[in-house]
């Protein structure tokens, strides 16, 4: 189990109850648990949506879509049942934020799911955990059972006359089902491949019903937002990026861990102050700022605020908040290889550019790293990645192409250093950070 970390720079909102035994329902209640949902029942749907919109909360899965707006897209009237779906298929390398939520504050996920259900008029929520989080499922299942035992879930919740049920489910171990429509396929018991959009889940989602699907961190933020008020939450963050976010700082830093920082927090500060700087006294070479799919930043590019807009301007993405710090003893070709190996392994195979493209990228980069590369390979790597970008069925193709383009663009010299039978200049280096 990862240890909990704390840093004075943190702003504790979502992580407020971490380390306080809030997985126990009574402890959770003692820490203001299940208050937000009762307030929500009292004040009604319009109030919930208004608070959510005011909070400026944007989806924590990586795409950053405003949550309040997403909820308001769900049709009021529907012949089919509406569903709330919690995406806990946290699989992006470098990302471990949902993990700590499930571990330390599972009831926040349940409460957030209930509030989302109230907001869209759904009676049923699903909490979907990645296959590898099976051990967290026990915690989540116990939390759900405890909530039922207290009468918080099931018929007539909190005397409101509203029924709400929650079901938990794990995947079978596929990154692809982190994509929302593939997750729905998986949840329905089918092969985890994405669906054609439109229709979007808000209209036709799980089992054909209108569905709100939110990242687990997004959902867990909801009770806190209602407790502190949307505007107060928004003020914590930066412009158009409300609130805080759990950042997972990993790799070559002194104090790796999951830290809750306000949106817009400076990346350089996050690494050097919060993360305690580069480990082993080495120098920084590069940072993958938001999970392995986000384009790499060089050491000179990290003086930038951690929010969706500023990261976009810097030519990368905030992504899932998984900051991977890479020191100067790391081979960037091997890092690129490790990254593409993941995407090649996880490609669902549905569409040609991703299925074939990731495989050829893996083979080519692997050969370059092993010393078998020729000059045209470097252009080929870029050509392959650029021809995948924007051409695939789902964003996973982009997730593989974007970092690859970043590596070959910003660290082409390191690729060149491997060509023509030359051994890897970092052959004695440790394993790359991203394992």
């Amino acid at each position: 189990m990862p240890r909990l970390v704390f840093h004075p720079e943190e702003v504790k909102i979502i992580s407020r109850r971490f380390g306080q035994g809030a997985a126990d329902i009574d402890k959770y209640i003692a820490l203001d648990g299940y208050k937000a949902v009762q307030t929500a029942i009292e004040k009604g749907v319009d109030w919930i949506i208004a608070e959510m919109k005011a909070s400026g909360l944007r989806g924590r899965g990586g795409a950053g879509f405003p949550t309040g707006m997403k909820w308001s897209f769900v049709p009021k009237q529907s012949e089919r049942p509406k569903y709330v779906l919690v995406n806990g298929d946290e699989s992006e390398p470098g990302t471990c934020k949902d993990h700590v939520i499930f571990l330390h504050d599972p009831h926040a996920v349940i409460e957030g799911t209930m509030i989302a259900g109230l907001a869209i008029g759904s009676k049923m929520g699903f909490i979907y955990l990645r296959g590898e989080y099976r051990y967290l499922l026990k915690i989540m299942e116990k939390a759900v059972a405890d909530a039922y035992a207290k009468g918080f879930l099931g018929k007539n919740i909190f005397g409101s006359g509203i029924d709400f049920d929650i079901v938990t489910q794990t995947g079978a171990g596929a990154y692809e089902v982190g994509e929302e429509s593939a997750l729905m396929e998986s949840l329905e018991g089918k092969r985890g491949v994405p669906r054609i959009k439109p229709p979007f889940p808000a209209v036709v989602g799980l089992y054909g019903g209108p569905t709100v699907i939110n990242n687990a961190e997004t959902i867990a933020s909801v009770p806190h937002i209602l407790l502190m008020g949307g505007e107060a939450y928004a003020k914590v963050g930066s412009e158009r990026n409300g609130g805080t976010r759990l950042f997972g700082i990993s790799g070559h830093v002194v104090n790796p861990g999951v830290y809750e920082l306000p949106m817009g927090y400076n990346l350089k500060k996050a690494i050097y102050e919060v993360g305690g700087g580069i480990s082993n006294g080495r120098k920084l070479k590069a940072v993958v700022p938001g999970g392995s799919s986000t384009p790499v930043l060089t050491a000179d590019e990290i003086d930038v605020g951690l929010d969706f807009d500023q990261m976009g301007k810097a030519g990368t993405m905030l992504g899932s908040g998984g900051i991977v710090v890479i020191d100067d003893q790391t081979c960037m070709v091997e890092f690129a290889l490790r990254t593409i190996k993941f995407y090649q392994h996880e490609s669902c195979g549905w569409c040609i550019p991703c299925r074939e493209g990731t495989d050829w990228l893996k083979k080519t980069i692997g050969r370059v790293h092993a010393g078998g590369g020729v000059a045209k390979d470097l252009d080929n790597i870029r050509y392959l990645a650029e021809n995948m970008l924007g051409r695939t069925f789902c964003p996973l193709g982009d997730a593989a192409a974007m970092p690859t383009i970043g590596f070959i663009k910003k660290f082409r010299h390191e690729f060149e250093d491997h060509l023509n039978g030359k051994p890897c200049p970092y052959a004695h280096a440790e394993e790359p950070a991203l394992v």
Binding site: H345, G349, I352, D359, W360
Partner: protein, 782 residues
């Protein structure tokens, strides 16, 4: 839906709202390439070939998933798009074996075509290609896995189209592979649709693979000889030293009434034509009781002389004629004309698989009440009574499934068995095997006719609420039951009917008067004035013996001669061979069947794939058959009838109204081989040329049929182009017989059998065997 206007490549186009961009473009003559897109199957957007640039959209969009919208501005072939497509092909070719020179699909491959178009000619990769061993999944389906581009067409057509669901995807990513439901083999209906839709050479056909190159074949679109649906099948043929052999059957020409569909028989069941044990020389039984091969002249003279002697000595009533369910309309018509005007007998019949006579009688001349096969793809509500189309009418079953799937048509099924189509049925009613007549009474309002429960009443209520109903009924309905069924149907606002019979020209055999009491067009034999005028000959006016009566007569010594054309009644009706010992038996067939073995003279005959003419499917769609194959030594039944008549001293010109005043050409002057006259005829007809110069020209006879049988008035052009008939013809008016003998004997074929003919197909036999040998691994499974 309302039309919307949009722009593609600067062209203003209009299409109904909701049309997919890829289809709208295709209709306007703009081709957008795609591997995974296939009309009427679910959308995949997996191949990314159909990407186009749509204004105001940040990324390239897939045309296969984008419905056209008002004001949409589309670029379909810019440099950016070409590059995207080229890159996709490069990726595919990375692992695709470039074994095009030996690949079955070489020359007919969509990947080849696209590579040619987008010029992905440079090999970008050094690593070796992924290789996997080829697999045989069934006697007819082979899977060459490295060639597969994962377009999922096979998976979808098997599941969505066939409702078989025998294919799926195993593994993921670059290891993804199409896999059959039986682990290493298929448990399926062997339709071969997966092979048909495969854009590359991944799925290959057991009957065709590695036999030839596509460009070495001629492709002849004709009509399948097997069941009564009358699907168009395209035969790939190639010259060999004893004629023209068929190497492939498929559905590359989707213009037939079967649309996208072809079943296993249409696709693989042609190999009987190529068998080495086919008869190619006439056989005459010698004094020692054994057959001897003799020349055509000798055999024809012998048979003609005997028939003439018997006619003169005993009269026509001592001669019987049995026709075929698989010969053309022209041959059937000619056979009855030969029987009636030259043999002087009404003793003519055929193996009846449906009671078309009672159907005609029940409709009694009402127009617009029969449904063509295509109607089953669009009728909003269909009542299926009896039969099991999945086995006996695969194209109908496909249409019904597609109609329910694509048009949300309502299918009502009543059957004594839980047939597979109940899965598509809105409502299914299981009735006792003898309950079909009572069901009609019940549907008509007689509450006591069957023990009704809620399901039954709901079934009846739903049917009676339909504003337009197509009733398709099997041969469970005969005689008075058909009368009752049609009466019930006509009591509803707008009903059409289709009667299901079993073979390629079962309907045509009845329509053309292979019946002891009815002339072509169901005209009673005692009402033959029109025919007498046209033929310039007298016709016997009393009804003759039916098929069973003929064998009774033979047994009693009252049938001196029997002429059997393309039929095997001895096997079908279990006739005791001794019954025929005093009967002079002439048989025309491809093989030495049980019937032919008893014959005095056997003429080697051509099959439906070796001749031209027309056939009528069980729905009444009249279609052109074209000569595709040829076998040295055989003659068409048409030619044989004419030659027999000629040698019996009849005027061939009166039999076949060819030439219109010109000189009778029996073909000898041109040294004609079998079938040549047919080819000639097709050419002449196609060019609207008269007169027909040969007495072997079936189209001269079609002219006469059209003069005498008003319902066969179909445009010759429609026939030639194979397009839909402009009007569905109707059965003509006949008086219902007071009591008609029930002579219907359903063929009871399964999906893989086809009467006597099917027994001569090695591939169908293999399929049957593979389906009857239990697989130990599966006995536990469902």
């Amino acid at each position: 839906m309302a039309d919307v206007t949009f722009t593609v490549d600067g062209k203003k186009l209009t299409a109904p709202a909701g049309t997919l961009l890829i289809d709208a473009c295709k209709n306007a003559g703009i081709e957008i390439p795609a591997f995974c897109y296939y009309p009427n199957l679910s959308l995949q957007a997996a191949c990314r070939m159909c990407v186009v640039r749509i204004e105001k959209m940040p990324k390239l969009q897939t045309a296969c998933t984008t419905p056209v919208a008002e004001g949409m501005v589309v670029q379909s072939e810019t440099d950016e798009i070409k590059q995207a497509r080229k890159a996709t092909i490069e990726l595919l070719l990375g692992n695709h074996p470039l074994d095009c020179p030996v690949c079955d699909a070489g020359g007919e491959c969509e990947l080849q075509d696209m590579t040619f178009k987008y010029g992905a000619a440079e090999s970008k990769y050094i690593e070796i290609k992924q290789h996997r061993e080829e697999q045989q999944w069934s006697p007819v389906v082979y899977f060459d896995r490295p060639r597969c581009i994962l377009c999922y067409r096979c998976v979808r057509v098997c599941g969505e189209g066939m409702d078989v669901w025998a294919l799926g995807v195993e593994n993921r990513g670059v290891s993804s592979v199409i896999a059959p439901n039986g682990q290493d083999h298929l448990n399926c209906e062997e339709c071969g649709m997966c092979i048909d839709l495969c854009p590359v050479g991944a799925l290959t056909s057991g009957t065709y693979r590695y036999k030839t190159r596509p460009w070495e074949m001629n492709h002849v679109a004709t009509i399948c000889t097997h069941c009564g649906d009358g699907c168009k099948t395209t035969l790939g043929v190639r010259s060999v030293n004893d004629g023209v052999e068929i190497i492939r059957g498929d559905n590359r020409d989707k213009s037939g009434i079967n649309g996208d569909f072809l079943c296993n028989k249409g696709r693989y069941g042609f190999d009987f034509a190529n068998r080495t044990d086919r008869l190619t020389k006439p056989l005459v039984r010698q004094a020692d009781g054994k057959f001897a091969e003799v020349s055509w002249d000798k055999a024809l003279d012998f048979a003609a002389k005997k028939l003439r002697e018997i006619r003169e000595a005993k009269g026509g009533q001592a001669i019987g004629v049995i026709g075929s369910n698989r010969t053309t309309n022209e041959e059937n018509y000619l056979l009855q004309k030969f029987a009636r005007t030259i043999l002087g007998t009404n003793n003519i019949d055929h193996h009846r698989t449906a009671d078309y006579v009672s159907f005609a009688s029940a409709l009694n001349g009402k127009s617009g009440r029969t449904a063509g096969l295509r109607d089953t793809t669009s009728a909003p509500a269909i009542l299926l009574l009896g039969n099991n189309p999945t086995d006996q009418h695969p194209a109908l079953a496909w249409n019904l499934r597609s109609n329910v799937r694509l048009n949300r048509s309502r299918l009502y099924v009543a059957n004594h068995a839980e047939i597979k189509l109940r899965r598509q049925a809105k409502s299914f009613l299981q009735i006792p095997q003898d309950g079909y007549a009572s069901l009609i009474q019940y549907l008509g309002g007689n509450d006591g006719a069957i023990a009704a429960d809620d399901n039954t009443t709901a079934f009846r209520d739903a049917i009676r609420k339909e504003e337009s109903l197509l009733i398709v009924f099997g041969s469970e309905y005969r005689g008075r039951d058909i009368q009752a069924l049609v009466e019930f149907g006509l009591s509803l606002p707008n009903t059409k009917f289709a009667a299901l019979g079993d073979y390629a020209n079962s309907r045509g055999a009845a329509d053309m008067g292979l019946l002891p009491d009815l002339l072509p067009g169901y005209v009673p034999v005692n009402d033959a004035a029109h025919f007498v005028d046209e033929y310039g000959a007298t016709l016997p006016t009393t009804a003759g013996l039916d098929l069973l009566q003929m064998f009774d007569a033979a047994r009693n010594g009252d049938l001196a001669a029997l002429y059997v054309v393309g039929s095997n009644p001895v096997s079908r009706y279990g006739v005791d061979p001794s019954a025929l010992k005093n009967t002079f038996l002439v048989v025309q067939d491809m093989f030495l069947t049980e019937t032919a073995q008893l014959a005095d003279v056997v003429f080697p005959a051509a099959n439906l794939y070796e001749k031209a003419g027309t056939v009528t499917n069980t729905y009444g769609d009249i279609q052109l058959v074209k000569k595709a194959a040829d076998k040295a030594g055989v003659r068409t039944d048409f030619e044989l009838i004419v030659r027999l008549a000629d040698r019996m001293g009849a005027d061939p010109k009166k039999l076949v109204p060819f030439g219109r005043g010109s000189f009778a050409d029996m073909g000898q002057t041109r040294g004609a081989q079998s079938g040549e006259a047919d080819r000639h005829a097709v050419w002449l007809a196609a060019n609207h040329l008269e007169p027909k110069l040969s007495p072997f020209d079936p189209f001269a006879t079609l002219d006469e049929i059209q003069r005498l049988v008003p319902s066969y008035h179909v445009s010759r052009l429609e026939l030639l182009t194979g397009s839909e008939q402009p009007e569905k013809f109707d059965l003509v008016q006949i008086q219902p017989a007071a009591s008609r003998r029930d002579l219907v004997l359903p063929a009871e074929d399964t999906l893989f059998t086809s009467g006597t003919l099917g027994r001569y197909s090695g591939m169908l036999k293999d399929i049957v065997e593979s389906h009857t040998t239990p697989n130990p691994a599966e006995t536990a499974a469902d």
